[in-house]
């Protein structure tokens, strides 16, 4: 892990949030809420935790990241672009015909993406396959996969969870972006997940609870994950959907709705 100045990380996060707002406003559709909640996690992963090289995206020993909740791709696109994988100046072509920045992550357009996602529930299994392959090859590569809290209602997630602990896969880390909101409303009203930490623990996982907007806490959580041997780690990142934009925070409306031009300006002012 290469640590950076916290202020540098904070500036990075602000820049990513501005990209997210501008990209989705320009596209007139997309998912701001779940993109904004994941900003800090991706920043810490891409700037500090993961071993990767944008100049050599197919490097065999790279750490990998999969966005299980593919609809939040604006945060991934903006982060990867700022890390040098893809052009920053094309971010605003999001969701337009021919853009590399497709509505959901699409490896046909960006080969550096580790998986094409968008149908919820499958990313963890794919990450496990990558973890297994790395272990077979004696490859130090670690795989990180971000899941939505709504997403983990899919049964496949729990089939995968059972598998990973049974096979003692300690080179994969699942992150639940626990923002407590899914598409139609609050998770507790649709399909409650609590006690969530107990569920993962009973499936044989090491569980770390952290404030998903606290950069230091995230840094510590990923260090703890790396130090945990013999079982997989899940980070329950407690976050706020729409984080950073007052009128989007905790507002289910902004799960899948683009801001208007006015709302965009207001948001950018808050993120100045």
């Amino acid at each position: 892990m290469q640590t950076r100045d916290i202020s540098e990380l904070q500036d990075f996060c602000k820049k990513i949030r501005r990209h997210i707002i501008e990209m989705i406003t320009e596209a007139k559709s997309g998912h701001p809420g779940g993109s904004l909640s994941a900003v800090e996690t991706l920043a810490v992963l891409y700037l500090e935790v993961m071993r990767h090289d944008s100049k050599n995206p197919q490097w065999k020993e790279r750490d990998r990241f999969i966005l299980g909740k593919g609809h939040a791709c604006p945060v991934l696109y903006a982060t990867m672009a700022e890390c040098g994988y893809t052009p920053v100046d094309q971010l605003k072509t999001l969701r337009k015909m021919g853009s590399i920045y497709q509505g959901h992550p699409d490896r046909r357009f960006i080969p550096a993406l580790e998986a094409s996602t968008g149908s919820l529930g499958q990313g963890l299994s794919v990450a496990i396959g990558m973890g297994l392959a790395a272990r077979m090859d004696g490859n130090p590569s670690r795989t990180y996969v971000m899941l939505g809290d709504g997403e983990i209602q899919e049964g496949q997630i729990w089939e995968a969870a059972m598998f990973a602990s049974f096979h003692k896969l300690d080179n994969i880390v699942a992150i639940v972006d626990y923002n407590k909101i899914q598409l139609d409303g609050f998770v507790k009203d649709i399909m409650e997940l609590e006690p969530l930490a107990d569920k993962w623990r009973s499936f044989g996982w090491h569980v770390v609870d952290a404030d998903g907007h606290d950069l230091l806490a995230l840094r510590r959580a990923f260090a703890e994950a790396e130090a945990t041997k013999g079982k997989p780690t899940v980070l329950l990142a407690h976050t706020i959907k729409g984080k950073g934009v007052s009128f989007m925070e905790n507002n289910p409306k902004f799960h899948g709705m683009a801001p208007t031009k006015d709302e965009c300006e207001k948001a950018l002012k808050e993120l100045a």
Binding site: H104, G118, S119, G155, M191
Partner: protein, 320 residues
């Protein structure tokens, strides 16, 4: 020209909206109608039903396979469940459940897949269902319906509810033109001849019906007498209408917002070879699309009136 005066194709609502509205009316008429949702109620439009009948509405979370089998249980115990999600998820994730808990024991579940085809636009291929009709028609005993507009969707929601047996009902996200008068009669398994013609028949379902009507106008102006047939029931297919079209026009073009490897096209081809082999052309998607505007995508991937007309010209030329 008959086509022009008869069909002004005014823009109507999306078929998913007609589905959601009719479901509420059904709910008022029959207390056994229940609805299962997988966190997409505001997109599939079952949220109106949920508001009026909270006790008969079950949110299953994002868990389509489980939802389908719960539907099977509800139906086996006498309810009339409508289980709804995006077509791309309910059929794919729920397929094995549809096979073993619904189709095989012939259980009375109504599966509704909205956001079908590529006209969902910006969300891209992961949410675009282009295989759903292949899957649904593969299930023995399933009735498979893809209405063209709000009028036919409203009628088919009711027909699906009163039909005893599993049904797959396909709906779209985008607004589509109104094809039918409010008093039009529909029946499961019946195709509807919209325009008569003698040189070629255009057969279609969903939003390709309106495109076929537009194509017929283009073709008539070129002197090609064009029949247009809406085939809302893909299974069981109206083999009579297919045989008649083959016999009387000698050329059939099938247009659908679906992979050409499955769906209506292959069903019609099968029927044609069993009755009256004739020239056929197929208009549909051949691979996964991408993000874009609905109109832009339909154009790029070849599902417009112009594509239907071009295919009809090819078919007519091959006849000679």
């Amino acid at each position: 020209m008959a086509a022009k005066t008869k069909f002004d194709l005014k823009m109507g609502s999306a078929t998913r909206e007609a589905f959601g509205k009719t479901l509420v009316q059904l709910g008022r008429e029959n207390k056994d109608v229940v609805v299962c949702d997988a966190d997409l109620s505001k997109s599939t439009m079952v949220h109106w039903f949920a508001q009026e009948f909270p006790g008969r509405f079950f949110t299953c979370g994002i868990a389509e396979a489980n939802m389908v089998a719960i539907g099977a249980g509800l139906a086996s115990a006498g309810k009339i469940p409508f289980v709804a999600s995006f077509s791309a998820f309910v059929l794919t994730k729920g397929f094995e459940q549809l096979r073993v808990t619904v189709a095989y024991p012939n259980v009375n579940v109504k599966v509704v897949g909205t956001h079908s085809g590529i006209s969902i636009g910006e969300d891209g291929p992961s949410q675009m269902s282009i295989e759903d009709l292949s899957l649904a028609t593969a299930l023995p005993g399933f009735t498979v319906i893809s209405p063209a507009d709000e009028v036919s969707m409203a009628a088919f929601v009711r027909l699906a509810a009163s039909h005893d047996g599993p049904v797959f009902l396909r709906a779209g996200r985008a607004k589509v033109p109104v094809v039918y008068n409010p008093d039009q009669q529909f029946a499961i398994g019946k195709a509807i001849e919209l325009i008569d013609g003698s040189d070629v028949t255009l057969m279609a379902h969903g939003l390709m019906v309106a495109e076929s009507l537009r194509a017929a106008e283009i073709l008539e102006a070129e002197g090609i007498s064009t029949r247009v047939v809406d085939v809302p029931t893909i299974k069981p297919l109206d083999t009579g209408a297919v045989a008649k079209a083959a016999r009387e026009t000698g050329a059939i073009v099938v247009g659908e917002e679906h992979l050409v490897d499955g769906g209506l096209g292959v069903k019609v081809a099968q029927a044609v070879t069993q009755s009256h082999p004739c020239v056929m052309e197929f208009v549909g998607v051949t691979t996964y699309a991408e993000s874009g505007t609905p109109e832009g995508l339909l154009q790029k991937y070849g599902m417009t009136a112009a594509n239907m007309a071009a295919a009809a010209r090819r078919a007519v030329a091959r006849k000679k």
